[in-house]
């Protein structure tokens, strides 16, 4: 099914609810590997297309959930604006084709390196429309940047992987695209030194918008600043001096090359290329090195978010979660075969009290259990 309108989509869900037909929700299908496999009738949102509102002067854009991300990004670029949270493209990681949709970005709360400074997808998301498991259309939030009217279901929908409702429309706060960027890099650091260096950058007043470390091959630690040209040059210079104690510091002001370098970090190219399972661990930055040290031999590791997000490619079947038991945070099995996912679980188990709340919410939003059943375990 590929409904062409929100009302048709709601009707389809009502019909499925009446017959308890399980639905497999799909946008562009480029992140289909994220979460457990779902069996059910395909409900495709790609028929819901189009930008319904874009006001550059108000930094706001509203689009149907099935709108290709590419369309949104091109539209924003024409006005020299962008989505603040730099959504990752999962195609290289999963070897998928197709076009990512904006609804898929929200359903998985997909955020990139700029998350440390500009927030995650959920922070830029200001409104949603969705259809719950009974076929009721629900609106939450709106199109204004500040809105505390009632409960914030917008955040709840971000990252719920279609299990609480099928998104039909999403609204975002956007930001001006910067005039210039600088990439400040240091080669050869080990993870502990790299996290120290990133912490120095992130605790400086120089408004760092990216702090990542590629630990495999020739290690390189990368810091990004963005903004008006004069300001970028100034801050890059200050950071170069500040980071001098960690080694030779290189500064690149080549915007195009910098963009590509950060796109590779965003899309975890280092981890995506090659055989093996892929894990994503979210911890406090200073725990990043301990996580890296606990990983099996031969792991390919990329740290982002100043060390707080660790991506690792490990031999197939390795139980990374059990290796980092004492560290608070969570570990997600992002890429593996279905048998491994079933054995280890994709998402980090919640403590019983939270698991009960999550289960309770799922029962309220999707009482018949028809929306992406089993997707989140």
């Amino acid at each position: 099914m590929t409904p062409k309108s929100e009302s048709a989509l709601a009707e389809a869900i009502r019909a499925a609810a009446a017959k308890k037909t399980r639905l497999h929700i799909r946008g562009g299908g480029t992140r289909a590997g994220l979460g457990h496999g779902v069996t059910g009738e395909m409900l495709n949102t790609s028929g819901l297309k189009g930008i319904s509102l874009y006001e550059p002067g108000a930094l706001t854009i509203v689009a149907a959930a099935g709108t290709p991300l590419e369309t949104i990004e091109k539209t924003l670029a024409k006005e020299n604006q962008r989505l603040p949270f730099e959504p990752m493209d999962h195609r290289a990681l999963y070897g998928t084709n197709g076009k990512p949709t904006i609804g898929g970005v929200v359903a998985a709360n997909v955020s990139g390196p700029r998350r440390i400074q500009a927030g995650a997808c959920r922070d830029s998301l200001i409104g949603v429309r969705f259809v719950n498991g009974e076929g009721t259309v629900i609106k939450n939030g709106g199109r204004v940047m500040k809105n505390v009217t009632g409960y914030d279901l917008v955040k709840l929908m971000a990252g719920s992987h279609g299990t609480l409702g099928v998104l039909t429309e999403v609204a975002f706060k956007v930001l001006p695209a910067p005039e210039a960027s600088a990439l400040i890099s240091i080669a050869g650091l080990d993870p502990a030194r790299a996290v120290d260096a990133m912490s120095v950058a992130l605790t400086s007043p120089f408004d760092v918008t990216g702090a990542a470390h590629k630990a495999a091959g020739e290690p390189v630690t990368m810091i990004r600043v963005e903004g008006f040209e004069g300001s970028v040059k100034y801050r890059a210079g200050q950071l170069k001096e500040l980071l001098g104690k960690f080694g030779d510091v290189d500064v690149s002001l080549n915007g195009k090359a910098n963009e590509q370098a950060w796109a590779d970090v965003r899309d975890v190219k280092l981890v995506a290329d090659g055989e093996g399972d892929v894990w994503r661990l979210s911890v406090k930055p200073s725990d990043g090195p301990a996580v890296a040290a606990a990983l099996p031999d031969g792991a390919a590791v990329q740290m982002d978010w100043g060390g707080g997000q660790v991506w690792a490619r490990v031999p197939a079947g390795a139980d990374v979660r059990s290796l980092v038991n004492g560290i608070s945070g969570h570990a997600t099995l992002v890429r593996a075969d279905e048998a491994t996912k079933a054995r280890l679980g994709v998402f980090h188990p919640e403590p019983p009290a939270l698991a009960a709340i999550s289960k309770g919410l799922r029962a309220k939003f999707d009482p018949h259990g028809i929306l992406n059943p089993g997707r989140m375990g």
């Binding site: 500040k146 009217t149 914030d152 709840l156 400086s204 008006f228 300001s231 403590p351």
Partner: protein, 478 residues
Amino acid sequence: MEMPVPNQAILARKDAIVAGLKAVLPEPEAVISDPHETRAYECDALTAYRCQPLAVVLPATTEEVAAVLKFCHAEGLPVVPRGAGTSLAGGSLPTADSIVLGVSRMSGVLETNYADRYIRVQTGRTNLSVTGAVEADGFFYAPDPSSQLACAIAGNIAMNSGGAHCLKYGVTTNNLMGVRMVTMQGDIIDIGGAHLDASVYDLLGVICGSEGQLGVVTEATLRILPKPEGARPVLMGFDSSHVAGECVADIIKAGVLPVAIEFMDRPCIRATEDFAKAGYPDVEALLIVEVEGSEAEIREQLDKINAIAMRHNPAELRESTGPEQSAAIWKGRKAAFGAMGQINDYICLDGTIPVSQLPLVLRRMEELSEQYGLDVANVFHAGDGNLHPLILFDANKPGDLETCEAMGAEILKLCVEVGGCLTGEHGVGVEKRDLMLTQYNEGDIEAQVRVKDVFDGKWLLNPAKVFPLVTTKERRAA
């Protein structure tokens, strides 16, 4: 404004309930039941509505909060959580049969971690003293509600508070990393922490802004940021509000992102001038635009901003030349609410609109002002469209408050009509509760109400707030 009829059976059991609370909290100062003393808790900053609670409890630890809630849950007692009592929406207004649970005795700093850029505090701590705990080391906590000297982090989380500087740094929800919370059943749960995202559902995102209806947050992990090298405001005066609004949109479109863009109209400027003598120009509208960075960065941004302002023929363009002048520029804005309070009673609205609708909304407000015969003064966060119209009335004049509220409702409906919302940073509380159906339909409300069902199945936590009473009647009665 309607509140539920108090449960007579609870009122009749007052002595037994107080004894039960004292058994749970043995410290003498932890349970207050003398009506002379509970009077201090009869209202918050929405002083038009008052009601004495059955009792007030002031636990000193999370475990004590859990013990109290377990007791209240077993006894079926409504609980009204309270931070510092600065809510403008009546978020901590008690009912006669309720127990007010204040977190004011829990105000410590539990952990400061600069390398990982967070601070963990007890939620009775005031907003400003969070920054106070880290500023000597060059850090700050970004959300800055006007009441920041007094308001508590607990209330900031409950209402998802904003402030003047959230154009750049976001509101509370964007700066809250984790909470320790006690459920109505008395379970202590941890959500989030020093890492940046949720493993499964974003429960933290739902807790923030839930107006004390899902749990009592006793500890919070907050993101702290390194202080910028410097900041500088520029003051602009315009001969029309319309032009000031256009200037705001042009600044944003140009790719400059100031940390704050504040707007005041003539009535507000006049009142604050009489009160604070900040030296503001006599104009229809003024903007305060603040940018941050090093000296060169400030120059770069202000050159762009000033050039945009010049295109709109400002009656005045005054860039700060030093700390004293910066303070003077902010002085009037910061004194605005106090100044208005000196000359009049007022209610402060909090509707938010798309920035593009500003001229239309300002014009309609003038018309409503004439129609209702009450003056309106405007002071607001223009960059994000968060309006704070102050409607002036005379509390001693019979019927004036009601007229004022009716006019306020019309303004909020107007905000919704043009694509905005009822409240941008104050919360719904009791004040906007009955207007919720202008923004959301019954299905939208039902989806929210079901979230409360999950957390608080007996509907005991702050039950008469946020949602129109008619939509929650059966749940509250059950």
